[in-house]
Symmetry: C2
Subunit: 371 residues, 2 copies
């Protein structure tokens, strides 16, 4: 039953073929790892809602993808978004959202929602933290009060939010760190997972475990296998793109993917660049604040030519759209000159319009691989 929820279809792609030609049978459990062309086409089918993969999830940190209405997200085409457990726990609190009917209703999003575990925020936002085998103690970024997160607690929060995919608590070792630290945090992540899997899911909800293990291939594989043996619905791959060289990211990722069977979705956490590279390696799911964050600072992503900063004076009288290849609301209706004007005047509409554009580029780029 659990396997039926996630239908992953492997597809042979003649295009962009690498050094080795190879063919993968549909629904095969065999993977070749020496090519860069293993693009997976699949779909998540959760609670009757479908999201085709590969997919990119816009980030609704506090229950809103900043500066956009849910209608605008729908118009772009998104089927799934991510929201942050830690932030929602702080404000307005999971109890409030639960009383109001869950996160979907609260934020008026009828597509799929993945919530993270809050673990990453504990490690990235809080100066003070103490990790034990019981859980994590840290200080609120809002008022400094102590918060205690356990594997069970973060799942209870996510159950109250009633997200469609909930993520286990993990420990993300900093980069660089020594072998002992890598191993310790890995062990803790697995122990946390063993406790997490015992939590009863909400009906139809999926549980993803988080693969850690630093930059150590063996630990990464060990972690993935441990999570798989626990019966997780999918694997979130964490602790990458946190300062290491991109080439190392890719090596660690390839090693990790080697042990993941095709029926399991693979979600690369928090990575918003080089997405096509990772899709070619076999990643299904992405999230990143990157496209919306840079949009709010006036940076527009072009389909094939990097980025432009729209505040630049050279766009003052430029009547062309941000990207001639784009058919988003922004590019259909507004010139670069107008968008520049909005940013020069610090008008909120600029943030909205560039966010629509950047998210459209991410959406279309990823979605083109399964359309």
């Amino acid at each position: 039953m659990r396997e039926n929820l996630i239908m992953i279809k492997e597809k042979f792609t003649q295009k962009n073929i690498g050094k080795f030609n190879f063919r993968i049978e549909e629904n095969s459990s065999f993977f070749q790892l020496f090519s860069n062309t293993r693009i997976r086409q699949g779909q998540l089918n959760i609670r009757g809602k479908i999201a085709k993969t590969p997919l990119f999830m816009p980030v609704a940190t506090r229950g809103t993808v900043r500066a956009l209405t849910p209608s605008q997200l729908k118009e772009i085409g998104f089927e799934m978004i991510l929201s942050n457990t830690y932030h929602l726990h702080e404000r307005p609190g999971e109890e409030v959202i639960n009383k109001l009917g869950g996160l979907h209703k609260f934020m008026n999003w009828d597509g799929l929602i993945l919530t993270d575990s809050g673990g990453y925020q504990v490690f990235s936002l809080s100066n003070y933290r103490r990790v034990t085998d019981d859980g994590v103690v840290f200080r609120s970024i809002l008022d400094g009060k102590e918060i205690f997160f356990t594997p069970e607690k973060v799942l209870e929060i996510q159950k109250k939010l009633n997200s469609d995919v909930a993520i286990f608590l993990d420990e993300c070792p900093e980069y660089p760190c020594n072998a002992k630290r890598e191993e310790e945090s890995l062990k803790r992540t697995i122990k946390f997972a063993e406790r997490s899997i015992k939590v009863e899911k909400n009906p139809g909800q999926l549980f993803f475990g988080v693969v850690q293990g630093g930059m150590n291939f063996k630990l990464r594989q060990e972690c993935a296998q441990a999570l798989l043996s626990l019966g997780v619905d999918g694997l979130a791959i964490g602790g990458l793109s946190i300062g290491e060289e991109p080439s190392l990211t890719k090596e660690v990722l390839l090693a990790t993917l080697e042990v993941i069977p095709p029926g399991k979705p693979r979600y690369l956490m928090g990575v918003g660049s080089d997405i096509l590279e990772y899709i070619k390696m076999g990643i299904d799911m992405f999230d990143s604040v990157f496209p919306t964050r840079i949009a709010r600072h006036g940076s527009a992503i072009l389909y094939n030519k990097g980025r432009i900063n729209i505040s630049n004076k050279r766009f003052k009288e430029d009547e062309s759209p941000l990207d001639r290849n784009c058919d988003c609301y922004t590019c259909r209706n507004f010139s670069r000159a107008y968008l520049r004007h909005l940013f020069v005047c610090d008008e909120l509409l600029g943030k909205t319009l560039l966010s629509i554009h950047n998210l459209t580029v991410l959406y279309k780029t990823v979605r083109a691989l399964n359309s």
Copy 2:
């Protein structure tokens, strides 16, 4: 021909009848001034575009109604907006907008646009100014450089923007001021108008003169009559609601309206409260930053019960919409609890959603009188 552009239909209203019952014939040029029920139903028909009156214009100060897309404004129902000549002159400059095809195309608004003269901004924003019979010298609020506005100059700017209704330069005396100042500024406003009327309009564009005269009934009437004799297309009534008692505003207004024939639209500049009162006196057009400005600070206008500040703790778990009588996008889709959450977290979406709601209330309240 000019008269045909503006069709004003007087309507007898049995409801809310005041001290005296009276009947006004359709298309009559005769007005009774002793009742408070002279609601006018009409329409502006400019360049093939229609805006029914009475109407409220949202303010797009810098070519954008803050935090809203043109689509969102259209969805509410607006047919006409206002934009500020002074702000657009500063940034991006009328030359840029003209090169890009005019303000409609620049901001992607296919409805009607009224531009003000910039006169009010000169008086309200600039600390330094010198008014002579030639024009106004003042300092830019951006970089302090001297700007010289003449009656001809502000119309040339508005012609370059190619707004549908352009406003003459006027001098707005501060309140309170003495009789000499009232008279001087009135004379100057009329002199400015005499020069303004000689400027050739863009095809189909209307020119409105501004009625000044402080709080002096006689001067107000004199000004209106002088403008009418010059052949203006409509009358903008300025210099009211600038600190005086509301009862005085109404008296001055009634005296002014007494001399304006029914075929001329009457636009009460910058007034966003007590609108129904003014409509009952015979005002056709309004603009105000009020509904959007308070929206961005979390204040929501209710149809019948004043305002609420959505950040208030009492809305923390309130699952009802802002106003049960409202069918705007915000009220159809979001709870007070969610909106409060957005404001508590300083999320941009909150500003957008409350702006949609407040503008909808203004739109519907005014539009209900001609639907």
